[in-house]
Amino acid sequence: MTKEQREPPERPGVLLPEMARHLFGRPATQRYPAERIPVPKGFRGRIEVSDEHCIGCSKCALVCPTDCIEMVSDERDVAMGARTVHRKKKPIVHLMSCIRCGLCEEACPTDPKAIYLTEAFGGAYERKDVVVG
């Protein structure tokens, strides 16, 4: 704003024109939870563990910054590519400490991923949701 431009007068109520415009327009408020807002692709939502792909390698537990992934004993045969693997343990996630950074998903060697971030916007609703997996 160059100095020669006439310095606009100081006056109260400078926002009045914009306020008048909004008076009849639609308010900007997003009415969550009545209206669910679309979550962008790649949104880091709640974490899920898929039992049939997990081979129990506990890489996710090692890499988790908040140590909220705990390996519990759970024997099962899992198909990994051509061969089947007999796993001894699988991860459970303590959602209250999970910061949804996604490092576990990156560290997981299986394809499709045994532990992954969904795009679920909500966190844990009831007590039973607090532990996932």
């Binding site: 704003m1 306020m19 692709k41």
Partner: protein, 394 residues
């Protein structure tokens, strides 16, 4: 009215932060300010020592909510410097982009908070509505509105697709004229000017002596910005103008921040239009050699310093964090001397205090309770004497 001690905080509508002021007032005029912010010391530095670098990165990122990328990037680039890892250009540019987007949403948030402090709630509503364009952008880029987790040692974790780039440029165009609108508003709205001009004066030499940083210092004419003077990530390769104001008061800080909003919009547009190609991260070793490095960053509130010492293992030996708000508290005490109660929220909000960053500052400039005048520092004593003579108080 006799001198009354007015407790403000730590729970107070003006300051949503765990800070408490014990203010001695004579009628409406402030005679002395005591400040105590030691309410949420979380021992982040101790925690960072016991964790491997990737894990410490996510801990350090959570020092502050609205400048989380600042802490993460500063720590990451410090450790990378010690490991001798070079981040590919595209990774550097994406880091800079998210840094500037964070400055944008932090300044817009602050503008709303300042307007709220003086009861100008319409501007508060508008600024926080416009801030949503940035938040949505950050959510698309990083998958999160806060604590973006964009950094990994050696680069960034997510790329910016061309489709996202065009949508972002579109959003930034809309924001550019909003920023122009706000810079016009703050010069014309009388009730805003009347509450900020001449309030909380901080002359240039006092700002330097007290170690003020960021917009608080630049609002008093101190021409220093880490992005230009000690460039990091991609700031060396992009056109950058440092905004200062000679007003040396709350309006000066307001003016600097609003012009920085306009500058950041230009920067983001430039970054998006000229984003270099190539991969976004390099492989970083697990272990960092013995060494020490001072990593500096221009956070939205000012110069952020991480002093990182490594000892050849995969954990940091020492991470010393000095946050911008810690450096700005002294300016509040100096700027508030002799003002009236109504100015406290405005002057405090003017340094844009981020208590989760500071989380550990308390100083009382004279004795509490027993009124024994244990002088805190000749600075404050001089300040009180100076203002008392000038105001003709007893």
């Amino acid at each position: 009215m006799p001198e009354v001690e007015l407790p403000i905080g730590p729970q107070h509508p003006a300051l949503k932060e765990p800070v408490s002021f014990r203010v001695l007032v004579d009628g409406e005029r402030i005679v002395r300010l005591d400040l105590d912010v030691s309410y949420n010391h979380r021992g982040v530095e101790k925690g960072a020592e016991g964790r491997e670098f990737p894990k410490a990165l996510y801990l350090i990122e959570r020092i502050c909510g609205i400048c989380s990328h600042a802490h993460a990037t500063n720590f990451a680039k410090g450790v990378e410097a010690l490991m001798g890892v070079t981040v590919p250009p595209r990774g550097q540019w994406i880091r800079t982009l998210v840094a500037e987007l964070e400055r944008l949403h932090s300044h817009l948030l602050w503008l709303g908070v300042l307007a709220h402090e003086i009861g100008y709630n319409t501007l508060f509503m508008y600024t926080w509505r416009d801030r949503e364009t940035i938040q949505d952008l950050l959510e698309e880029i990083s998958g999160n509105r806060v604590n973006y987790g964009m950094n990994r040692l050696g680069g960034v974790r997510r790329d910016v697709s061309d489709d996202l780039r065009s949508r972002a440029l579109e959003g930034l165009r809309g924001l550019a004229d909003r920023a122009g609108f706000y810079s016009r508003i703050i010069r014309e709205e009388q009730t805003l000017l009347v509450r900020t001009r001449g309030v909380g004066r901080l002359p240039r030499d006092r700002a330097i002596a007290l170690g003020a940083v960021g917009p608080t210092a630049r609002g008093s004419g101190v021409d220093f910005d880490v992005r230009r003077d000690d460039p990091y990530v991609a700031y060396g390769d992009v056109p950058l103008h440092v905004m200062t104001s000679s007003a040396s008061d709350v309006f000066g800080r307001l003016e600097v921040r609003v012009r920085e909003i306009e500058e950041s919009v230009r920067l983001c547009t430039h970054l998006l239009e000229n984003l270099p190609s190539g991969d976004i991260a390099a492989k970083a070793p697990r272990v960092a050699p013995q060494g020490a490095y001072v990593s500096r960053y221009e956070a939205p509130r000012g110069e952020l310093v991480h002093y990182i010492r490594t000892n050849g293992t995969d954990k940091a030996d020492r991470v010393s964090v000095r946050t911008p708000t810690l450096a700005n508290w002294l300016s509040v005490v100096e700027a508030i001397q002799g003002r009236v109660i109504a100015d406290i929220p405005v002057v405090v909000a003017a340094i844009d205090p981020c208590l989760s960053c500071t989380s550990r500052t308390t100083f009382v400039d004279t004795g509490t309770g027993d009124r024994s005048a244990m002088e805190w520092d000749d600075l404050v004593a001089y300040g009180i004497r100076y203002y008392r003579e000038r105001e003709g108080l007893p």
